[in-house]
């Protein structure tokens, strides 16, 4: 996303395109994203997928780091309840995310910057729809402001 690096946070810029990081678990959500590809379902090209073994691998710090890095939206997606390849990873993750999600909202970070989802390996269409939806939501919010690190 180097192209937008120099742009000042919080500022609407012509031709601005949202930058989104998606952390996807290897077994379901990443597979769902692959299925969207296999099915040639089109979605906006703003999202960068980072493959992780399980949604439980993602700590709040990694989400915060993404925001600090200046992405406009973050998605964390794991297996649907019951589908976790590691039995209970998504349940463990769900608790952390619940706290983090509430905390971010509480601090006044706009709703719609950080998203959590369950996407199964069979949900190619849903994945494409989800990315469309999130991209639109983030686009409407404009460039990220809060937590973006500006050099002094």
């Amino acid at each position: 996303m180097g192209i937008n690096k120099m742009q000042q946070p919080g500022q609407k810029v012509d031709g601005w395109k949202p930058r989104i990081i998606a952390f996807l678990c290897n077994w379901c959500s990443y597979a769902g994203a692959d299925l969207a590809g296999v099915s040639r379902l089109q979605y906006p090209p703003n999202t960068r997928i980072i493959r992780v073994p399980c949604s439980s691998r993602i700590s709040p710090l990694l989400i915060l780091k993404s925001l600090q890095h200046g992405v406009d939206g973050v998605l964390v997606s794991g297996c649907r309840p019951g589908d976790c390849h590691y039995i209970s990873g998504n349940y463990v993750a769900r608790r952390k995310f619940a706290i983090l999600n509430n905390l971010l909202e509480y601090l006044g970070i706009e709703k719609g910057r950080v998203h959590f989802a369950w996407v199964s390996a069979a949900e190619g269409k849903r994945f494409a729809e989800l990315i469309k939806e999130i991209t639109e939501e983030v686009r409407a919010l404009g460039p990220a402001k809060e937590l973006v690190k500006k050099q002094d």
């Binding site: 709040p60 710090l61 915060l64 780091k65 600090q68 309840p81 209970s88 349940y91 463990v92 769900r94 608790r95 952390k96 995310f97 619940a98 706290i99 983090l100 999600n101 509430n102 905390l103 909202e105 509480y106 601090l107 006044g108 970070i109 706009e110 709703k111 998203h115 959590f116 989802a117 369950w118 989800l130 809060e146 937590l147 973006v148 690190k149 500006k150 050099q151 002094d152």
Partner: protein
């Protein structure tokens, strides 16, 4: 009823003489008005130093980890809750600590009094039952203690020690009819912009001295994530984004562990309202996972377990 300080001294002496403990951690008189200071007593004669008053605000559980000797500790309700968290986290063995539980009426927030005095310096302060007599260069004022307690004391539901080996004096009545999360709810009710404004305003005061972290009995990481170089999680300057992340993550790390003793708040020299974060997390942990830290030794920490039916409305 005998004076609490005297009872603490007697207990401490007895424990030391009988060699049931090697060390007593308690409070002694501080060098400033309204200030007590932690003290470490190893010989029974030194036990005379021990005191108890409304300025024994430090959470002494902070000093319990990594001790080889058997320790007696003077502990308020919140301190005992911290001790429970430490025991659960295997940082302290229950049998290694002798808890001298002291029911607490709340600790005085001298910053609140100083604010009221608006720059006039307190040179002397005396606690007389529910009142504090303050003397300065050219004034004497008497204030009611309960109006100047720490915020965490105002919302405290555990004034009485939760676990103890001996209880000093009688139990006190718990706070009643308080809205423990009033401050949080008030904050929640504000607009997102306002919330972000106040949050950044708070953290922009931060000088990264880490007094909050170091005062916290549960911030015991060998290497805090802010100090980590592999990977370098956040920058070390007072950059607002870095400081914000420091405070958010530190607060998150206390999720399901924080007992709202207020030690972080009290330690902060810049008066950052750290409890705004920790209290919110404490509230959510309670509401979402029905867990309260440090109230018993049995419950599994909320982030070390899960329920199939945990809330997930926020997940798409």
């Amino acid at each position: 009823m005998p004076d609490t300080s005297v009872m603490i001294r007697d207990t401490a002496k007895k424990l030391l003489v009988e060699k049931r403990v090697d060390l007593i951690i308690g409070f002694e008189r501080g060098t400033l008005p309204l200030r007590s200071t932690p003290c470490f007593v190893r010989r029974s004669v030194e036990a005379e130093k021990l005191i108890w008053n409304a300025s024994c605000e430090n959470n002494l559980a902070r000093y319990l980890r990594k001790r080889k000797e058997k320790v007696g500790i003077v502990a308020k309700g919140c301190d005992t809750r911290s001790i429970i968290s430490l025991i659960k986290e295997k940082q302290v063995a229950r049998e290694q600590v002798f808890i001298i539980g002291v029911p607490c009426h709340g600790m005085i927030d001298r910053r609140k009094i100083e604010a009221k005095l608006d720059g006039r310096e307190i040179l002397e302060a005396d606690e007389v039952s529910e009142k504090v007599i303050l003397k300065g260069h050219d004034f004497t004022e008497i204030v009611a203690k309960e109006e100047f307690l720490h915020n965490s004391c105002n919302t405290c539901n555990y004034r009485n020690p939760v676990i103890y080996d001996v209880l000093i004096g009688d139990k006190v009545e718990e706070n009643r009819g308080i809205d423990e999360y009033g401050e949080v709810k008030e904050f929640e009710a504000q607009s997102a912009d306002r919330r972000w404004q106040s949050f950044t305003n708070e953290v922009s005061k931060c000088i990264r001295c880490y007094a909050c972290r170091n005062a916290c009995p549960l911030c015991y990481c060998q290497e805090c994530f802010v100090d980590s170089s592999q990977p370098r999680w956040i920058g070390k300057t007072t950059n607002l984004s870095d400081t914000s992340i420091f405070h958010i993550v530190r607060a998150f790390h206390t999720a399901g562990r924080c007992v709202d003793c207020g030690a972080c708040d009290r330690a902060c020299p810049m008066g950052i309202d750290i409890r705004k974060l920790t209290k919110k997390i404490e509230k959510d942990v309670k509401e979402l996972f029905h867990y309260q830290a440090g109230v018993n030794l049995e419950d599994v920490p909320p982030l070390a377990t899960f329920n199939l039916g945990d809330p997930q409305e926020f997940i798409k």
